[in-house]
């Protein structure tokens, strides 16, 4: 029996095209995500790859309703049953937000720099679990421990930490509410390779301990190959190929996937990079 935590169907996101001027006005629409369908099995990791601007971030933000999709459905298996995220009012979404969390490349870009680690990690609890305020401190300490940070980090500011530690704080904040679906948008892209390896290993451990499902957006194909079971390849807003990662990497069917794979440099100096010629491919 398949147990899909998320099923996305015919999902599109559009942005208005504005004409600049004294009075800006809409002159058309730009389709950033075009009729995308996929599903994610509970407990698995789905990778989304594609070049910058291909619509990866827009897709995942619209699934979480940070922006509104133009059409389609995104059916999420919540603790209380299946719901179409696209049909819910903002108010009805609030309890569901606990179950779906996002981890960003720069976890604190949108946060007040005067917040200490304790505030950052406990903020979701303050918003969603105010009734448990007596236990917040203990929950935060426990979560920090799980991501490999000492309790003495509680009263420090995040800018005092290295990139890898900052990302651990971001992970602690995302997981403190015990979500079931976690979306990582380029979460390890800015990290040095050694630190990236530690964070990836941590995400794998947490997935097992907390029964997490990941959607893992990355432009680094090797990272997705390592981390995910399934993947989507996006190009100009559309999914051009999807399936088991192993199959995509060993027998790609779409020309764009072939182009991407042919451009990955090998660690072996004797396997020379010979990217396919864009002009000889049918990419759309």
């Amino acid at each position: 029996m398949t147990d899909n935590i998320l099923e996305v169907n015919n999902f599109s996101v559009k942005f208005p095209l504005m004409k600049r001027g004294l009075l800006s006005r809409q002159v058309g629409e730009f389709t950033a995500v075009n009729n995308v369908s996929f599903s994610v099995q509970r407990g698995s990791s789905l990778g989304i790859v594609g070049e910058s601007g291909s619509g990866k971030t827009t897709l995942v933000r619209a699934i979480l309703r940070a922006i509104d999709p133009a059409s389609g459905s995104a059916v999420f298996q919540s603790h209380t049953g299946a719901v179409d995220l696209c049909q819910l009012s903002n108010k009805a979404l609030i309890p569901l937000r606990m179950q779906m969390q996002m981890i960003f490349q720069d976890p604190f870009a949108s946060l007040n720099p005067r917040m200490k680690v304790a505030d950052i990690v406990s903020e979701p609890l303050v918003i969603h679990r105010p009734e448990q305020h007596r236990e917040h401190r203990q929950m935060v300490i426990h979560m920090l421990e799980r991501v490999g940070l000492e309790a003495d980090t509680l009263h420090r500011f995040p800018h005092a930490f290295s990139g890898g530690q900052r990302q651990r704080i971001g992970i602690a904040r995302a997981l403190i509410l015990n979500p079931s679906l976690v979306i990582c948008d380029e979460a390890v892209s800015a990290l040095d390779v050694s630190v990236q390896a530690q964070v990836l290993n941590l995400l794998v451990d947490l997935q097992q301990e907390m029964n997490l499902t990941y959607i893992f957006v990355a432009h680094d194909l090797n990272v997705v190959h390592h981390f995910c079971e399934q993947a989507l390849v996006m190009y100009h807003g559309s999914v051009v190929e999807s399936g088991p990662v192993e199959q995509i990497f060993t027998s790609p069917r779409h020309d764009y996937t072939r182009l991407l794979l042919s451009a990955i440099p090998s660690l072996d100096p004797d396997i020379k990079l010979s990217p396919l010629d864009r002009n000889s491919l049918s990419l759309e």
Partner: protein, 315 residues
């Protein structure tokens, strides 16, 4: 120093003075660049790669200071000289920065003026370094943009940087770097901000240039796979020090230093590994104590005590 060495750094140290104290960003670094080859410096962020490159062009500014070392440059058909001995504001230093060496960076947008057309900027670079007329500069700029793979160059010269994609901007930077016919091109993470397909195109361009115009490249990157594809010689840096040098095959296929071994093991490979093997993330110099580089078999060097170097590498 052999005849085919275009640049030889000996015992270079660069110190930064900050509120927290003095910090040796580059600590007794030595490096040889062979003429018409690509030498790569690879290391994680903060290891001192960019500071080493800036020192080569005498671009270190306060609070930084070059505290010791020599940078011996031997241009084709010219006498050797020490870059660090050139007087500030001297003609020789001007010639070094504008003629002998050129540099391209990760983010071309910061080096390009947003308010001038691409054509004006390339022509400006030509006019400051060559005595040619404006019309000749236009033709040269066109030819140079064409040379780095920009189609419809004369049309695109009318455009502004924001109208160019990241990959195209990097091609413009390469064109501007090449107008003064440098003998050394320093590339500081030139493909790090680019999509993988565009990165492949820029790497192919740099390789082709190296082969056709006999330029010596210093290629700085944190990406070992990029090193594998572009480098002839490799130097591994960590916390301001050189831990290992050798040919690209020696470093990637047969690393001696445990740091290099761990760095390679931390790269997610094409084969699905069960678990990555991260390098320790403690910024603790005692992880890789500061031994000095010693020569080992195969014309390579490693910063380890003899007792920790496997016997088969002993000279």
């Amino acid at each position: 120093m052999s005849i085919d060495t275009i640049l030889s750094i000996r015992g270079l140290s660069v110190m930064f003075k900050t509120e927290i104290g003095e910090h040796l960003a580059v600590n007794n670094v030595s490096l040889d660049m062979k003429r018409s080859q690509t030498t790569a410096i690879v290391g994680e962020s903060g290891s001192g790669k960019s500071v080493t490159a800036y020192a080569m062009m005498r671009l270190i500014q306060a609070p930084g200071k070059i505290t010791s070392g020599q940078i011996i440059c031997t241009p084709a058909q010219q006498e050797s000289f020490d870059v660090l001995q050139l007087a500030d504001n001297s003609d020789a230093l001007y010639h070094l920065r504008g003629g002998l060496m050129a540099m391209i960076f990760q983010e071309p947008m910061t080096a390009l003026s947003p308010v001038h057309t691409i054509g004006n900027q390339v022509m400006e670079a030509i006019l400051t370094h060559q005595s040619v007329t404006k019309a000749e500069a236009f033709e040269l700029a066109c030819a140079m943009l064409d040379r780095v793979g920009i189609a419809d160059a004369s049309q695109r010269m009318q455009q502004y940087p924001f109208e160019f994609s990241g990959g195209m901007r990097q091609r413009v930077m390469i064109a501007m770097a090449l107008v003064c016919k440098p003998q050394i091109l320093i590339c500081d993470e030139p493909t790090t901000a680019l999509d993988v397909t565009i990165q492949a195109e820029i790497l192919a361009l740099l390789k082709e240039l190296k082969e056709t115009i006999q330029i010596s490249l210093l290629f700085i990157t944190h990406d070992l796979a990029v090193v594998a594809q572009i480098a002839d010689q490799v130097m591994v840096m960590n916390q301001g020090r050189v831990l290992e040098t050798g040919s690209v095959r020696q470093i990637l296929n047969d690393p001696i230093h445990p740091y290099t071994q761990n760095l390679i093991a931390a790269v997610p490979g094409m084969k699905q590994q069960d678990r990555l093997r991260p390098v320790s993330n403690k910024p603790d110099p005692t992880d890789y104590p500061s031994y000095s580089l010693i020569p080992v078999k195969g014309d390579r060097q490693v910063a380890l005590p003899v007792s920790l170097i496997p016997e088969e590498y002993h000279l």
